[in-house]
Symmetry: C2
Subunit: 295 residues, 2 copies
């Protein structure tokens, strides 16, 4: 029977949305909960949660742990967007087709909501009495913290910031993106794997899959920033060129960037084949979606 990503995703997305809505508290003090929920709910493709769940299912992982991990990576992603959109960073007013959090709630609340979302991510990963083994909790916290911090997402954002108006080599650009977006995408896959007992070969293959997918994601992001319009993207198009940011398109040109994305899809596919896992169809379909998406 053929695999339908749409069918596979829809049940999982529903679970993730429900869990996020339950776990991001409406009653956080003084409007903070409202801003946190605004930043997280009803928006985004939920690629990271789907990667967590896809990897967890592939290794037969604990489903409760996987759902928590799926929501936790999404909270980290959401907080990074809130802070990234702030006036002192990208100063963006549109995100997922809506006013950004600082436009809707003010800068101070946006700053705090981002901070609180990061803390909540780790809170989700270390629940008391939820039947998730301590070893899994510790592994999930480790993987997420490493991917979110200075050697991952935050470090990549710092490089990005310092790179505005400069020219980067392809190696420098790749390093920046590996940290800025790649680390969290790869961590999503590895957090899924950490929910079960994966062999060393499976973990190595999944790690390589996550690396290739993370890079492909950014290459395609750079392509879409040039080729798509704001309505389709749900965010401001063309802002890389506007901010004079180095991108794969500015570095390689549109055609070579496209072919690079296809090559990376091939690498992701090849890596999955080395895992020895019985069913990696969801992960393969997610990689294809990343490369072929139009927003």
């Amino acid at each position: 029977m053929s695999f339908s990503l749409k069918d596979w995703s829809s049940e999982r997305l529903a679970r993730v949305e429900q869990a996020l809505s339950a776990w991001v508290p409406a009653d956080a003090p003084a409007g903070l909960g409202e801003a946190m929920r605004y930043a997280v709910l009803d928006g985004g493709k939920r690629l990271r949660p789907l990667l967590v769940l896809g990897a967890a299912e592939a290794v037969g992982g604990n489903p409760d742990a996987a759902l928590r991990a799926a929501c936790a990576v999404e909270l980290i992603h959401a907080y990074s967007l809130v802070h990234d959109d702030m006036p002192c960073m990208d100063n963006d007013v549109l995100r997922r087709g809506k006013p950004t959090v600082h436009v809707a709630y003010g800068e101070a609340t946006a700053l705090l909501a981002g901070d609180a979302l990061q803390a909540l991510a780790f809170e989700l990963l270390a629940p008391e009495g939820a039947g998730i083994p301590d070893r899994v909790q510790a592994s999930l916290c480790r993987l997420l913290a490493q991917a979110a911090g200075q050697a991952g997402m935050a470090g990549g954002q710092a490089i990005d910031l310092a790179a505005v108006g400069r020219s980067l080599t392809e190696a420098e650009l790749r390093h920046m993106h590996r940290l800025k977006t790649g680390a969290l995408l790869q961590a999503s896959v590895m957090m899924g794997a950490a929910c079960g007992e994966a062999t060393a070969a499976a973990r190595a293959g999944l790690s390589e899959y996550g690396r290739a997918l993370g890079l492909a994601f950014q290459v395609v992001d750079d392509i879409l920033d040039v080729t798509a319009d704001s309505a389709t993207l749900g965010k401001t198009a063309g802002k890389d060129a506007l901010h004079d940011k180095p991108t794969y398109v500015s570095l390689l040109g549109l055609q070579r960037a496209r072919s690079y994305a296809r090559d990376l899809l091939g690498e992701a596919r090849g890596a999955l084949a080395t895992t020895g896992l019985a069913d990696t169809r969801a992960l393969l379909a997610l990689a294809e979606m990343v490369v072929h998406r139009d927003n």
Copy 2:
């Protein structure tokens, strides 16, 4: 033999400073490491780390876990100061006698440095191969995440923000501070306890001690904001009144605020007596220091 807090502290502070310097990476990308170190090193009273270590020693906890926990709470505290000082929050230019991080490194780097410090805190708590039991790692992550997030520090800051220019009842003010500063101070004590095997009575007593100490800390902070000068404080004095923020002094008057701080010290002392722990002299001395400090 009498107990000297100075002697007890100096060896532990040296260990904490050394560990922070080793763990806050100088080589984080694009100036991020420099800003992170500037925010954390050579500054502050390190009250939270000392509370972690004092509680861990009282319960005979794992010293490596305790040192990590001590540094992790300090990183959360440091990140909160970086973000709190930013123009969209308190817009403060002086902290620990030095220009604040956003003044020294720019707003964007300050935002990212704060974000990266929060992630690093959790990374320290969940090390691979450091011999710290998974159960302890998971407990430490749980306690820190709860204290840092919307039901703790970040939530308290949101209430604080919303309270500017309003009048609060004493109950509302206490709730705000219990979250804003109290939660992390209490968590410091409980994280120390989580490094060992404390009885339920010991944990309950330590929790009550941490609650009273956390509240006393804030009452004394409010007193010092009125009575001390900026040079002694190492930060801008008088800013609560300037920003029309409700404080214990504005609510109770100076004299009743002072007597409230003494009452809370008595509660902290009484709570320690209920723990059944053999040696709580360091914790008692820390509570006395909190109430009797002049900066």
